[in-house]
Amino acid sequence: MTATRDWAREWAEGDGQPLQLLGHDGRILRPEVARPPDDLVREGLRLMLLSRAIDERCTNLQRQGRLGLYAPVLGQEAAVVGSHLAIDPAVDWLVPASREQPAMLRHGWPLDRMLALMLGRFEAARIPDDVRMLPRQQSIGSQLPHAVGIAWSASIERRDDVTLAYCGDGATSEGDFHEACNLAGVMQVPLVLVVINNQYAISTPIAKQTRAARLADRARGYGFPGVAVDGNDLLAVHEVTSQAVERARSGQGPTMIEAVTYRLGFHNTSDNPSLYREPAEVARAEELDPVARVVAYAETQGLVDAAAVEAQVLEARAEVATALERALTYPTPGPDDVFRHVSAEEDQRASE
């Protein structure tokens, strides 16, 4: 799909509000903007529901003590899925942070392999060789210079892959964020950086992270466009990311997209958000649920009805259950695995 406008410019000239294409009730706000194909919306909804089913199951497993720490996507599904739908997993690179499960799945990491990681079966969780994706990153912001390097390599080698990288609002305070953005601008690399602004870094609200009105404003200082988009609006996120991908692929350099959303759940399963945020705030955010919005849109477009959505929810749960069964058949690691993959000389065991 071809994007219709220069969204970064439009945003820069607007009132600073994140761009929105769908109303909270799923109504189309901007009829002049071309809509994505129905299949893309269906796929988006499927991935968002799958993401919820994974969150649900993994949280339960963690509560039963069968899984380590889990960080849910809850509330951020449109931001992650909408942006990832704009790239081609067969060509483009994905550089995730640590809360982009549906993007990693769509990119080609099989669900049972992802669950194997959560279950501590590390060998099975290895990303397949033909999947152009980095592993999750636990060191906040450290993946961003890597993303710039990958994108830079595409420029040097005249490849036409684009790198889609993610980070959180908290990550924008790290030195690595600044160094990555600066270099990306200087080298004009084909990078699309999606900053998922879910309002919190553990307990730290965005207001304590930055005094800037919008994170997207920062892009200008690095010499490339930035745009803030309603991160709970699947269509808007997809639209601005598509345009950014097009810019990158045609040699016009990086774009920063701030997807403004809300972390509806806990930071991870050992967090207790009631210690630092008001229930009323969460309740307000729940009214802006990205899944409800895309469902409403799909219903008014006649793509699905309530019964079909219900069936899809059950399908998603079943898919997770089946993948989980598979994941549990993969071997659990043994003592030898401590020494594997430390360096190329596999047999030269690290001295113990």
């Binding site: 720490l69 060191s139 908290g170 305070s173 790290e174 870094a201 730290t204 992270q209 690691p333 401590v338």
Partner: protein, 327 residues
């Protein structure tokens, strides 16, 4: 919190912070999530309410936290910074090694930096990557930086008070798996020294350790006594830089057999330093078998694999028996 009553290491840490802040208005706390949340481990719980204007939630930027602490100290304050997990000290290493630790030297004494950096570390909690790493060897290698590593509530209190009072920077390593699992009496002793301390008596062999591995050694010593009739003493180094040479050498010379135990990786680990110091100090007088039990030279492994990586009681017992009986 009653003095004399048993408290957790976490409670003792919090109490030390409270008392340090009561003792001097210049003491301020900063770090990620230390204010409203009270820290991810709740070490600073309640301090924001108790000391308004002196506890600061910072942006997610370790280099900035340490770098700003340098400036805060130059500006007359006594910063106690928290790095959420010691594994993320690397994001601040240029500020620690090139700046914090050298300011006194570079300025020929014009500036000194009474900065304390608290950082939880150590394994056993099935933490994500980087969170359980033991970096003490990298820190002890920095001239101008002191490194403290308590293993008991009373030490958490006494050493943290000492760290905050120190006119120079102290890296204060907090053993995260002991935060709630170890209890002990709280002595509000803030005049003690950070010298090495014998945590268990025994004539046959000396187990030298620090932080969480001290408890591995204590369990091993128990097993050595009941299972093998070997009396193992356990020396808790407590201050990793500068090492208490006298305490270490006296304890070693009295037993003549030594095993050093740590969770950091073996190669160029702090155990190597302990061995070298003992050799240098005692080479002329006694010959002394010294063995190491350390983590292997691999990245810290995920999940349950850490059980095969961390020094276990069994490995410590085996090494102690080898030191005592020979192979």
């Amino acid at each position: 919190m009653d003095v004399g009553r048993d408290v957790t290491l976490l409670e003792a840490t919090r109490r030390a912070l409270v008392d340090a802040m009561e003792a001097s208005e210049r003491v301020v706390l900063l770090g990620q999530d230390v204010g409203r949340l009270g820290g991810v481990f709740r070490a600073t719980e309640g301090l924001l309410e108790r000391f308004p204007g002196r506890v600061f939630d910072t942006p997610l930027a370790e280099g900035g936290i340490v770098g700003a602490s340098v400036g805060l100290a130059i500006g007359g304050l006594v910063p106690v910074a928290e790095i959420q997990f010691a594994g993320f000290l690397h994001q601040a290493f240029h500020q620690i090694t090139q700046q914090l630790a050298r300011y006194r030297f570079r300025s020929r004494g014009r500036f000194h930096l009474p900065v304390t950096i608290r950082a939880p570390y150590g394994g056993g909690l099935r933490m994500p990557e980087f969170h359980p790493d033991s970096l003490e060897a990298q820190l002890a290698n920095v001239p101008g930086l002191k490194v403290f590593a308590p293993a008991f509530p009373d030490d958490a209190y006494a050493l943290l008070r000492e760290a905050v009072r120190d006119p120079d920077p102290v890296l204060f390593l907090e053993p995260q798996r002991l935060y709630r699992s170890v209890r002990g009496p709280l002595h509000l002793d803030d005049t003690g020294s950070s010298a090495a301390r014998l945590r268990r008596e025994g004539d046959d062999v000396l187990l030298v350790s620090w932080g969480p591995a001290v408890h591995t050694c204590l369990t091993a010593a128990q097993e050595l006594e009941t299972g093998h009739g070997v009396q193992a003493a356990v020396l808790d180094l407590r201050r990793l830089s500068p090492i208490d040479d006298r305490g270490l050498c006296e304890a070693a010379a009295a037993r003549r057999r030594v095993v050093v135990v740590h969770e950091g990786v073996r190669t160029a680990g702090l155990g190597a330093e302990v061995v070298a110091r003992l050799q240098e100090a005692l080479a002329d007088t006694i010959s002394l078998p010294i063995l190491r039990v350390a983590a292997p030279d691999t990245p810290y492994p995920p999940g349950r694999l850490e059980d095969h990586f961390l020094p276990s009681t069994g490995k410590v017992v085996a090494a102690a028996l080898r030191a005592v009986h020979g192979r």
